[in-house]
Symmetry: C2
Subunit: 145 residues, 2 copies
DNA sequence: ATTTGTGCAAATCGTTTGCATCTGA
DNA sequence: TCAGATGCAAACGATTTGCACAAAT
């Protein structure tokens, strides 16, 4: 279990700049815009493509490659957590604190599960010389019949 | 195991044929070969590409597209379970019973964790109208420093 | 001025698809 | 025979990369 420090940081204006600076990333126009979109309204699970579209609609012209760059850089510095939901595409979660996910299969949508809702009464022992970096629990959901 | 009466060069039990028949899949040369490779030696986690190479090296000429078809068909009929490890590529697990996985990040390798090694003391409640189809636990590992 | 980031388009990777040909029942 | 499977190559979607240009320190 890693990742702590998830008190929803409401980021607006100059905070964004210092947030990026603290992370060692130059606060460029594009990064500032992306961080604002990501943290503007609560926690989110975004795909690169979706964030790209959103930025364009918000009148921020940037390239898809820049979005990918930014998402990976943000992930490296701990601002985002990458989720391997299912299938081909990656999602990025603005909630980097310890928690898990429901995955709605039909919609490719993720819903947060607080860490406290999943308790391991027994932890698997990692193989010799290995250590646990993270435990991902994905609870797959289907519409009830 | 005895050789299947035919052109197959691998050691094939008659069970393979009936296994496919029971699943509603025509026991073709390619499917028989793939099932034999998959179930020949204990449980495995294979990617399409890896299985394809393996088949070629075993002297079974087939196309990558056929491997993809077969893997998905096998999954549909419950002979395999698809794993969304991490990143772009899919893995298929010959162990379809209830269990979980270690994921060795550096090697993209999966190791089974028996279901009994992970106990939930608290189960998350699915949202209204939804039901749980499966719970995947992935314990990510890194080489200890 | 120097360093770092950006945009674009082409390249890559895993996977899927269309269609002509082949094969098992 | 003939539905169903296969092979091939082209198509595809998501992501990455290479490099000239632009922006931040």
């Amino acid at each position: 279990m890693l990742a702590e420090g998830g008190q929803g940081m409401t980021v607006v204006g100059p905070c964004v700049t210092s947030m990026l600076r603290k992370a060692g990333l130059r606060p460029t126009r594009q990064r500032i815009a992306l961080v604002s979109l990501l943290y503007g309204r609560g926690h989110r699970h975004v795909s690169a493509e979706a964030l790209y579209e959103e930025a364009l609609h918000a009148g921020i012209p940037l390239s898809l490659a820049t979005v990918y760059n930014a998402l990976h850089q943000f992930t490296e510095v701990g601002l985002l957590r990458e989720l391997a939901a299912d299938g081909a595409k990656s999602y990025f979660d603005t909630n980097v604190s310890d928690h898990h996910h429901f995955f709605v299969e039909a919609e490719n949508r993720m819903i947060d599960i607080p860490a406290t809702s999943v308790a391991f009464s027994d932890l698997p022992v990692p193989p010799e010389g290995m250590e646990i970096t993270r435990i991902d629990v994905v609870v797959r959901l289907r519409r009830k019949v």
